[in-house]
């Protein structure tokens, strides 16, 4: 379902405002529902909550729910799963990443959050997770992908299905081959001499 344009644009603007206020999860004292590792339920994720789970844009998110003691992939499978009493477990975006696989060790990168406390305060400012529009050649062309595709090869994980946030939800998931029209913005070259 696509919300009317005006509403969507508003939502986008207010999300940006909220994330700016919340410092995009950089505030060490931020206490948020569902962010702690002892949470039983996970509400549908807003952009702000998304930011809170990551050190910077591109960092692996911490796990927003308690340890249920089951295989991660039994819920975060390639279509995602509605888990009774918990919420929708989004699909895993990197099931086909070269070097990773469905037997990979998820907790090598994703960790639970056992406490809200910090050891020492930090001045770290990560790459902000504001909404970033894919650049377009002109109004008529499809936007390029404004983030690296590596580790996010499964576009549907974030852009379709019940877990997809409104502002990045794809209006035409039936067209299947996303990268036929959307190409990765090749962010940079290394400045290696």
């Amino acid at each position: 379902m696509i919300a009317p344009a005006g509403v969507r644009a508003l939502a986008v603007v207010s999300l940006l405002a909220i994330s700016a206020l919340a410092g995009c999860g950089r505030g060490d004292d931020a206490k948020k529902d569902g962010a702690r590792g002892d949470a039983r339920t996970v509400a549908k994720t807003s952009a702000r909550e998304r930011a809170e789970r990551r050190g910077y844009d591109g960092a692996p998110p911490v796990i927003p729910h308690q340890n249920f003691g089951v295989e991660c992939m039994s819920c975060h499978n390639d279509r995602g799963m509605q888990v009774e009493g918990v919420g929708f477990a989004p699909p895993m975006p990197h099931a086909v990443t070269a070097g990773l696989s469905d037997i990979a060790r998820c907790r090598q990168c994703h960790v639970f959050r056992e406490t809200d406390e910090i050891f020492v305060a930090s001045d770290f400012r990560g790459l902000a997770q504001d909404l970033r529009r894919g650049r377009r050649l002109n109004d008529m062309t499809p936007p390029v992908i404004p983030h690296p595709v590596f580790m996010r090869e499964n576009c549907y994980a974030c852009h379709a299905g019940p877990a997809a946030r409104e502002e990045i939800r794809c209006s035409h998931p039936e067209r299947a081959r996303c990268q036929q029209c959307h190409v990765e913005e090749n962010a940079t070259d290394l400045f290696t001499p």
Binding site: A5, A9, D28, R113, R125
Partner: protein
């Protein structure tokens, strides 16, 4: 991205879809609301990860002089774009609020700190060292660094100490970490470091992990093995361990053994290989000699009791042996006998022997601290390599003994530069005149500058500092007042007449013990180079400025040397010394099988695996067709082992019991180690929110049966008591690690729970590496 490339990237024939007004409005709103920095607005530079010996390549994204993000470097052959949670959170490690930003001296009260200038600090260090040299000689000065020193830091320290101060009292924390592996390789190949490379993880079939929780300690390498297992389902992971860990979850066979009995198990496998005729006799005849050393338990001891308690000076003596004698000695280790010592079922011992003996399958043995931090660590290294040597499963893609390193430059700095009390660069030692001559010549210092007697090894260095035999000690890039075993033995309050300098980036228990603290530049705040577990040297540029007045460790050393009249050791321009220093260091190894890539080549590549000859790296050392030093058309040639007729040595090494075992008063084994989320003592990783929040404090892992017996559950407090100290902490039952009945595990990352106050400072006889894995404790309910 410029406009032309953008158009190219999109292609010309993009199907134009009729966009609705809604889409256009939305796009406009995005564009107007957008204030964010794009990844493309950052400047990205390459660097190896700051943490473990895996040496993953990262790209660090910098804006306005700060690191704002990292991403796994897809061009790095080490990690191919993946990182572990520590690597992903590298940037935050630099920005803890309590970064040390200026030199500080103890106030007159012995407690407070006074800010001082760099000039005053450097003058003070120079005068303290000079005074000690004058009054008590070169044995009274010391420097203690680490496997986190860059190659530049280590080389500067080595040259200054051995070539300027005329002292061999330079040691790294890697003595606590890799010394047994060094002595293992040196006693067998007369050259340090493994023959294989990370491609072994795709080439091998059986991965036999000896006391090695690879899933947590070398996560990205472990994921390479898992990926290989997915593609080749007949790949097997064998976990030989004293406790169940994250690695066990992925193992095809779990072999649980009594602590210390790995010596018996390896001998038992050797015996079964002999008995079943699985030795590769042709390989042995061509490439192997047999050796024995001192085998008497009393004579060797453990370095911590009686006469050995202060000075531990055991020297092994080599004698020749033969295959027949070897077979006879090993024959004592029958499956029944080994099973009795180790608790491992005979059937499992036989399966292990079948794997090592199966010529149709590639075998990789992997080990790290379980084998190295062992009172017979050198022996255990020898025994594992023996298994590969007698079966010829060595220096072949997919078949190698593979020693993993814990620190980013344990290999590159400590082992290759030789920042140890007894070593010099490129496999040379201070005890050999011809080696000292070479070093003195390259350094342009008079003959006889480098003393022939090795300096204090790490544990002894701290004992000497406490006795007052060492008067001035400088600690860089490490935290010994958390990591030394039997910590109470080095309890120290400033003002005891000795002088301790500590360079670090954050306050730690070690800076608390110091008289002078210097702020260091970390990771990509300075130029550096690390060497990882697979002999890969990786250079990184300085990408951001360090905070405040923080300076790189090598600079600190050079400045003190200049103030002591030893500036001639560092005759390079102040703003361009890295390249000439590296090229001078490199000249030690060229032509000796330790050829590093040139500085210019290293700057351009994602690291190079040495020996690098004619600009080409060597993936498999000693192997025909790979190693340019091997002139044979096939097979192997252990060309570095000149003293063994260019053959490798198989050593008979018997089983000895550990230094301390559980008894009626102290009925539990205590094992210590790391967790995935924290790096060593946590001084860096605990300042990263996500990592600290994942594992906020240390705990003691207890078996469920033991917990039930003590009527405690997870979260309850217990008191651990050893003969050396005691500590109260939280219990964890069925956590990530599950120790067997009668055994507990405590991680050492937490400076508020100094588990090393309980550990025993027993050592390996040959490597002088302490054993942090085995001592006896009591568990009390509180």
């Amino acid at each position: 991205m410029d406009r032309r490339r953008f158009i190219q990237a999109l292609g010309t024939g993009t199907g134009i879809v009729a966009f609705s007004q809604a889409h256009k409005d939305e796009a406009k709103a995005f564009a107007e609301g957008q204030s964010a920095i794009n990844p493309s607005d950052l400047t990205w530079g390459k660097a190896p990860c700051r943490y473990c010996g895996t040496g993953c390549g990262v790209e660090a994204g910098v804006k306005d002089g700060k690191v704002m993000a990292v991403r796994g470097d897809t061009a790095s052959p080490v990690n191919k774009g993946l990182l572990c949670v520590k690597g992903y959170h590298l940037p935050a490690m630099l920005y803890g609020k309590d970064r040390l930003t200026h030199p500080m001296k103890r106030g007159a009260d012995g407690k407070s700190w006074e800010k001082i200038s760099w000039d005053d600090a450097l003058d003070l260090i120079a005068s303290k060292y000079q005074e000690a040299l004058k009054e008590s000689g070169p044995e009274s000065v010391a420097i203690y660094g680490s496997g986190q020193w860059t190659i530049f830091d280590g080389y500067a320290a080595l040259k200054w100490f051995k070539g300027g101060m005329r002292s061999n009292n330079i040691e790294p924390n890697a003595r606590l970490c890799m010394a047994s592996a060094v002595m293992g390789f040196v006693t067998q190949f007369q050259s340090d470091e493994p023959m294989g490379c990370y491609e072994d993880f795709e080439e091998g079939d059986d991965f036999i992990m000896w006391g090695n929780n690879m899933a947590e300690m070398h996560p990205v390498l472990f994921s390479r093995i898992l990926e290989s297992k997915r593609k080749k389902p007949n790949v097997r992971i064998i976990d030989l361990a004293t406790r169940r860990t994250a690695t066990t979850d992925y193992a095809d066979m779990y072999v649980e053994f009594r602590p210390g009995s790995d010596l018996a198990i390896a001998n038992g496998i050797l015996h079964l290989l002999i008995e079943s005729g699985k030795l590769d006799n042709a390989f042995i005849k061509e490439n192997i000699v047999f050796k024995r050393g001192i085998e008497d338990l009393e004579e060797i001891g453990f370095g911590c009791y009686g006469d050995q308690a202060e000075h531990y000076t055991f020297q092994d003596k080599t004698r020749d042996s033969s295959i027949d004698e070897f077979k006879k000695l090993v024959s004592e280790y029958t499956p029944a006998h080994v099973s009795k010592i180790s608790g491992v079922p005979e059937a499992q011992l036989r399966s292990l022997a079948e794997m090592y003996g199966d010529q149709s399958r590639g075998t990789i043995s992997l080990w790290c601290m379980g084998v190295n931090q062992h009172t017979r660590g050198t022996w255990m290294n020898n025994l594992i390599t023996n298994l590969h040597l007698v079966t010829g499963k060595i220096s072949r893609p997919g078949s190698n003994p593979f020693s993993l390193t814990g620190q980013p430059s344990a290999c590159g700095t400590v082992r290759e530069v030789g920042t140890l009390a007894n070593r010099l660069p490129a496999d040379m030692v201070v005890t050999k005149k011809e080696h000292r001559d070479i070093a003195e010549k390259i350094w342009g210092v008079p003959e006889g500058t480098i003393p022939a007697k090795p300096g204090y090894h790490a544990t002894d260095m701290f004992r000497a500092f406490m006795r007052g035999d060492v008067k001035v000690m400088w600690v860089q890039t490490t935290n010994p007042w958390v990591t030394m075993p039997n910590l109470h033995r080095i309890d120290r309050k400033p003002g005891d007449g000795r002088f301790l300098i500590v360079s670090d980036i954050y306050p730690t228990p070690t800076t608390e013990a110091a008289d002078l603290v210097l702020p260091a530049a970390a990771w990509i705040e300075r130029e550096g180079a690390f060497g990882n577990s697979e002999r890969r040297t990786q250079h990184f540029d300085k990408l951001v400025e360090p905070p405040g007045e923080a300076k790189e460790d090598a600079w600190q050393i050079i400045e003190v040397a200049k103030r002591m009249g030893m500036g001639h050791l560092f005759p390079w321009p102040e703003d361009a010394w890295h390249k000439p220093m590296f090229e001078e260091y490199r000249s030690f190894g060229l032509g000796h099988g330790k050829d590093l890539a040139s500085y210019d080549q290293l700057r351009k590549t994602r690291g190079m695996v040495w020996p690098v000859v004619d600009g080409k790296e060597t993936l498999y050392r000693y192997a025909a067709g790979y190693d340019p030093y091997v002139k044979k058309s096939k097979g192997v040639h252990f060309y570095k082992a000149k003293g063994y007729g260019e053959k490798a040595a198989v050593w008979f090494r018997p089983y000895h019991p550990p230094a301390e075992e559980p008894d009626a008063d102290y009925p539990f084994w205590l094992c210590t180690g790391r967790v995935l989320e924290h790096w060593h003592t946590g001084s860096l990783t605990r300042r990263v929110k996500q990592l600290h929040q994942a594992v906020p404090k240390a705990y003691v892992e207890l078996n469920r049966a033991d917990a039930t017996k003590l009527s405690v559950k997870s979260g309850d407090r217990v008191k651990l008591v050893s003969r050396r100290g005691s500590m109260e902490m939280d219990v964890k039952v069925d956590g990530r690690g599950k120790p067997p009945v009668g055994s507990v595990f405590v991680p050492f990352f937490d400076e508020h729970y100094l588990i090393n106050e309980l550990t025993l400072d027993a050592m390996c006889n040959i490597s002088k590496q302490p054993d942090y894995k085995k001592c006896a404790v009591r568990v009390e309910r509180v």
